[in-house]
Amino acid sequence: MTDRAAAGAVIELDGVEKSYPYFRLQDVRMQLAPGQIMGFIGPNGAGKSTTIRILMGFVRHDRGEVRVLGHPIPTEQVAAKRQVGFVSEEMRLFGRATLQWHMDFVASSYPGWDSQYAKTLLRRFDLRPEQPTRRLSHGQHMKAMLLLALARRPRLLVLDEPMTGLDPVARHETLAELMDVLKDESRSILFSSHHTQDVEQISDQITFIDRGRIIESSDKETFLDRWRRLHLELPAGGQLPTRPGVIDVQGSGGRSSVVTTNAFTPELGASYEQAGARVREIQPMTLEEIFVAEVLASRKERIA
């Protein structure tokens, strides 16, 4: 495990593997530092939920090392889970009780429960404590679970697709609450989603996963700075020179080309111009575009 003591990472996965009959998580390595939000992005079935289940001790990995808040998982999952708030799109509260019952139950289980904050969240999320949880809509259910996780004031929030099914207002409210959590610099969030917009808004770190493998992990600014799309015009019969970091070239061989790179520097455009091309436009890319390009490039590389 790399620089464990120095980094004091809240989440550390090192060479984690898990095999199912039709899916395999392979050599997963990632770290989340205190006070950071990591956006964990991948298409459906990429391995996000499996990774999170391993982190929570629900599923045992076949190989590798997992630590949450310094505790090895699954052996010390009890100690780790005392300080982890977990919400999943696939999770539901106990159907035979009200939200108030859940609040009382969670409050009795965690000494750090903040009743005042819970009341504030009740109002902010427009939830009624006397309502039986089985009568809650999907959006209300997600908000209720977020309330129960947030009001415990955990050191680490693990959120598996928490925005799924929320309306735009609820998404905004939830993101605002998550940002609030980060005011305390010792708290961290792992936030999985296949919706890049939410992740882009709040994350410091981005990790892409596809088909059971981590394909890229870096801080958000580095991602956004490195990736560009260059629109080039070529002279008749002109050929684009090969440059490192070029992920995709569209329209190669024609008069105009679109080059996607993950290693952009101002010198890249200049090098194309030296080769006879004219740089018409250099476009920054959204996280969604970067994600799609990363996934497609990774799949192409694996096939090759």
């Binding site: 289940r53 929570m56 001790g57 629900f58 599923v59 045992r60 699954p74 999952q77 009890v78 100690a79 889970k81 005392r82 982890v84 977990f86 999943s88 696939e90 999770m91 539901r92 509260l93 106990f94 159907g95 035979r96 009780a97 139950f105 009795s108 289980s109 965690y110 679970m145």
Partner: protein, 224 residues
């Protein structure tokens, strides 16, 4: 803290199962009271009593264990500071307690019925009653084991069908044993070798189920 968390989760399930537990006690004791109104009422009461115990046991397991998994509340439960093994232990303890409370209440009521009630028949029925009570406990432990160890609805349904049909076979079997049938009206309890053998098999089944469940859960790697 995880020990207290285990008991908190047990109390939670007992709270959720309280309606079923109370219902089984009320129906069971009502059935025992009905037995004093002659043979015809007694037969109806026996069916009612057995049905109440069996249905309560099945509902407890299907509701608090299989239902929790089906309704996706298992991951919420597992997210509390408790190990997966302790969580399963809490489910088992709560389900067994929810079943044993009416089971003991009815057994006690039955003992009173057989011994000190004004219309007491004598203790001749006691061995059959004990054999039947243990058989129902075996059946409960079977459905409990299935719901704890598998998330297969098909297996649960097969077990429920087995439970509902095996009761008739069970009564048919024990009442065909001469040494048992001959002593039903006896004023004292006769613990014949046949009764002892059946009790031994029933206890053996309980031990076997407990051992298999412990072995299976100890080896289980994935809980969701």
């Amino acid at each position: 803290m995880s020990g207290s968390m285990l008991w908190r989760l047990v109390r939670k399930d007992l709270y959720f199962n309280r309606g079923l537990t109370a219902g089984a006690i009320v129906i069971g004791l009502a059935a025992l009271a009905l037995m004093s109104f002659g043979d015809a009422a007694g037969n109806t009461a026996l069916i009612l009593l057995v049905t109440a115990v069996v249905i309560q046991g099945v509902f407890v397991c299907m509701g608090s264990i299989a239902g929790e998994r089906k309704e996706k509340a298992l991951s919420f439960g597992l997210s509390f500071p408790i190990s997966t093994g302790q969580y399963m232990a809490a489910k088992a303890i709560a389900a067994i307690t929810s079943f044993l409370v009416p089971w003991f209440a009815i057994a006690l009521g039955g003992l009173i019925e057989l011994t000190i009630a004004p219309h007491a028949h004598g203790l001749g029925l006691l061995p059959v009653s004990v054999v039947t009570a243990l058989f129902l406990l075996d059946e409960f432990c079977l459905i409990l084991a299935i719901t704890l160890c598998t998330d297969s609805e098909a297996w649960a349904n097969v077990t429920i069908v087995w439970i509902s049909t095996s009761i008739a076979f069970f009564f048919n079997f024990i009442l065909r044993i001469g040494s048992i049938y001959a002593n039903l009206s006896s004023p004292r309890a006769v613990w014949s070798p046949a009764v002892i053998a059946i009790l031994a098999v029933e206890v053996g089944v309980l031990v076997l189920i407990a051992a298999l469940v412990s072995y299976r859960l100890a080896r289980q790697r994935d809980f969701i």
